[in-house]
């Protein structure tokens, strides 16, 4: 029943935010409600991992450990984003960047966006899954073009068009999956549970072709190279709390869709086919993005390219297979979501002080923003995979999986690219964090809500990084549980 609350709360909040006059109060109510959603998601996760959990409204909603995991990941990031939004929107309203009415629209769209993302992992019907993912694109396009400047409208247009082409291909793949199912002569259905049950008797050729379409289609949405071109534009132009949601949750929801179809492929065609395709796209994303990270001049674009890199790592993890690569990839989904959100929030704070996205214009963040500066420094180390932060654990799991699998080439490439990205991050952020403040920049006070948001995000980064070192056995048990799903 938790799922009803998780899906219902954002819808009610969306209406509330539109109606309420006091926008600051709307923001605070937002944050409190998302805390409740987070607790519900935690309960749901616990129930789904420990016992079977298959809620069903006429076969419409299906929840297993995997969907609960994705909902939980989404709820952590949305809670932090809701917290961060309070201060961020307040500041924008105070400075006259947006009007009070626009602030209400922002909160409404924020909630609708969250609703569509919570909906994706809960659905059973593959056609509805497609509709939900298209819905995330349509709603977030408004949030990308929210500031209505030339750049942001251009980014929104590219985002909506490129993702729509991708999603058309994904629909083609979905139809081919249902064709494979219809040819087998069992029944007419698009439910994942029905198709997955009989996956082994479906026509292999159709499944193979269908999965290529799915991978290219949803891969566009997931930001896998070479279909990633919308991503840096959209991430850099979106409202900052939304950048975090795009990077932390939206990309992962597309990966979730790929995984759902992947399960059918693994059962019907064999792991090899699925694994090799995922490895291929993962490696391409990793190599392309690490090159772009090196030469980036825009702070938010830098983070966006780093998202492509991490999606590549996740895809490599799934490509390496169970159980180590798989658990590494799943953990990485969560770790990347929280760490990248932390980075986007601190970057947004820095940008609001310096009024520029350009890395060269940002100097001495430590002096201007002591709290956010420290968080940014910790975030840089967490994101580049330093112990004791959680990304270290997931990356090392994936690298071990690569060596155990005998994929020395992939392992080597992964290590080289991680090295390049690490160097680039230290170089870029070293310059930004330390050094003298440019003239005319006054250290401004930091928002309380933002500080809370940082701590909310830092907690799982540190806690997972430390606890998981001692809990490998539980980890593998959970991995097997998730993989059965």
């Amino acid at each position: 029943m938790e799922i009803l609350f998780i899906l219902g709360a954002p819808l009610i909040l969306a209406i509330l935010a539109f109606v309420m006059k006091n926008k600051k109060a709307a923001g605070i109510i937002n944050a409190i409600s998302y805390f409740a959603v987070l607790s519900c998601a935690l309960l749901l996760l616990k129930r789904c991992v420990l016992s079977e959990c298959r809620v069903s409204f006429f076969g419409f909603i299906y929840l297993d450990a995997l969907s609960a995991f994705f909902i939980f990941t989404a709820s952590v990031v949305t809670f932090a984003a809701a917290l961060y939004s309070i201060g961020y929107v307040n500041k924008d309203v105070k400075e006259g960047v947006i009007s009070g009415r626009r602030a209400g629209i922002y909160y409404s769209l924020f909630n609708l966006f969250c609703f569509s993302m919570f909906l994706v992992p809960a659905l059973n019907n593959l056609g509805m899954l497609w509709v939900a993912i298209e819905m995330t694109t349509l709603i977030s396009a408004f949030l990308v073009g929210f500031y209505n400047t030339k750049k942001s409208v251009e980014a929104a247009w590219k985002y909506i068009i490129i993702c729509s082409v991708g999603i058309i291909l994904a629909l083609l793949g979905t139809i081919l999956f249902s064709y494979a199912f219809a040819v087998s002569g069992v029944a007419k259905s698009l439910n994942w549970t029905d198709i997955a049950q009989v996956a082994h008797i479906l026509d292999k050729n159709i499944l193979k072709i269908a999965f290529i379409f799915i991978l290219v289609g949803y891969g566009t949405k997931a930001g896998l190279a070479p279909m990633h071109t919308w991503l840096p534009d959209a991430h850099s132009q979106a409202v900052s709390p939304i950048s975090a949601l795009l990077s932390g949750v939206l990309l992962k929801m597309a990966l979730y869709a790929i995984l759902r179809f992947g399960f059918i492929i693994i059962k019907g065609v064999g792991f090899e086919y699925f694994g090799n395709l995922m490895l291929l796209l993962g490696v391409i994303s990793l190599v392309i993005s690490s090159g772009f990270v090196l030469v980036q001049k825009d702070l938010k674009r830098l983070l966006a390219y780093s998202s492509i890199e991490h999606v590549g790592i996740i895809s490599i993890g799934f490509g390496l297979g169970a159980p180590l690569g798989f658990i590494g990839a799943l953990l990485h989904i969560f770790n990347h979501a929280v760490t990248k959100s932390l980075m986007f929030f601190t970057a947004a704070d820095a940008i609001s002080v310096y009024k520029k996205h350009n890395i060269n214009a940002i100097r001495g963040v430590m002096k201007a923003l002591p709290f956010a500066g420290v968080m940014m420094l910790l975030g840089v180390f967490a994101l580049t995979g330093f112990p004791p932060f959680s990304i270290f654990i997931s990356e090392i799991l994936i690298i071990i999986a690569a060596f155990l699998n005998g994929s020395y080439f992939v392992a080597g490439l992964l290590l080289i690219c991680l090295g390049i990205v690490f160097g680039a991050f230290i170089y870029h952020f070293g310059k930004m964090l330390f050094g003298n403040l440019p003239k005319g920049i006054i250290p401004a006070g930091e928002q309380l809500s933002a500080k809370f948001a940082y701590l909310v995000l830092l907690f799982p980064i540190l806690a997972l990084g430390i606890v998981l070192v001692f809990k490998q056995k539980d980890l593998i048990w959970i991995a097997q549980k998730l993989f059965q799903g």
Binding site: G127, M128, E134, L138, K150, A156, S189, Q237, V295
Partner: protein, 211 residues
């Protein structure tokens, strides 16, 4: 009868390829949707299912009436240049379209499991429509052509779904219709903004974001 309708679908798709102006592109899209509507109506009549009648009705209302009318009104409102801006001229586009027709046929023949060779002909037409839709999105410069390309590709998918898998489940069909309708309105909204900010809707000139 079905052969005639299929022929109509193909002709209207070719018309989209050779259209030079926005209005003729929208008109060709209307013809294409109308042919699809007839095809669905015939299937509904043969299978005697209420669901399919409703789907056909929705198709007529949304894709033949509402969307083209919305786009026409929209064109009048923004007073944008009528020219579509071709990257590839019409003759060459037509050659591409012929190539795509053959490609779609080969692909459909390989994919469709049937003893009867002509079973692949409707899926082939559907793949062809998807290919042309994506072709229009890439090789026409205005934002409007991109919307129509998307709609044409979606029409192709509709045809594919209604033939190969015996149609999507009813509520999925409705949801997809709704989704397409909403996405056209949202894209129209963004074109309106692009036109206001840039004073043109030439997507090729949107190049502020690089690297």
């Amino acid at each position: 009868m079905q052969a005639i309708i299929l022929f109509g679908v193909l002709i209207s798709t070719y018309l989209m390829v050779i259209a030079k102006r926005s209005t003729s592109l929208i008109r060709a899209f209307r013809y294409q949707s109308f042919c699809l509507f007839l095809a669905t109506l015939i299937i509904a009549f043969n299978e005697k299912q209420l669901d399919l009648y409703i789907v056909a009705g929705l198709l007529f209302v949304i894709k033949v009436l509402a969307i083209p009318r919305y786009l026409y009104r929209f064109l009048n409102k923004i007073k944008a240049n009528e020219d579509l801006g071709l990257f590839i001229n019409t003759q060459l586009s037509l050659l591409f379209a012929l190539g795509f027709t053959y490609l779609a046929w080969v692909f459909a023949r390989r994919l469709i499991v049937s003893d009867y060779a002509l079973a692949a002909i409707v899926p082939a037409a559907a793949f062809f429509m998807v290919l042309i839709g994506i072709f229009l999105m890439i090789f026409r410069m205005t934002a409007l052509a991109q919307i129509i390309g998307l709609l044409a590709a979606e029409n192709g998918l509709f045809l594919l779904a209604s033939t190969v898998s015996g149609g999507m489940p009813f509520f999925v069909e409705i949801a997809i219709f709704f989704d397409v309708f909403v996405s056209v309105i949202i894209m129209g909204f963004f074109i309106y903004r692009i036109n206001k900010l840039f004073t043109h809707i030439d997507v090729n000139k949107l190049s502020r974001l690089r690297g």
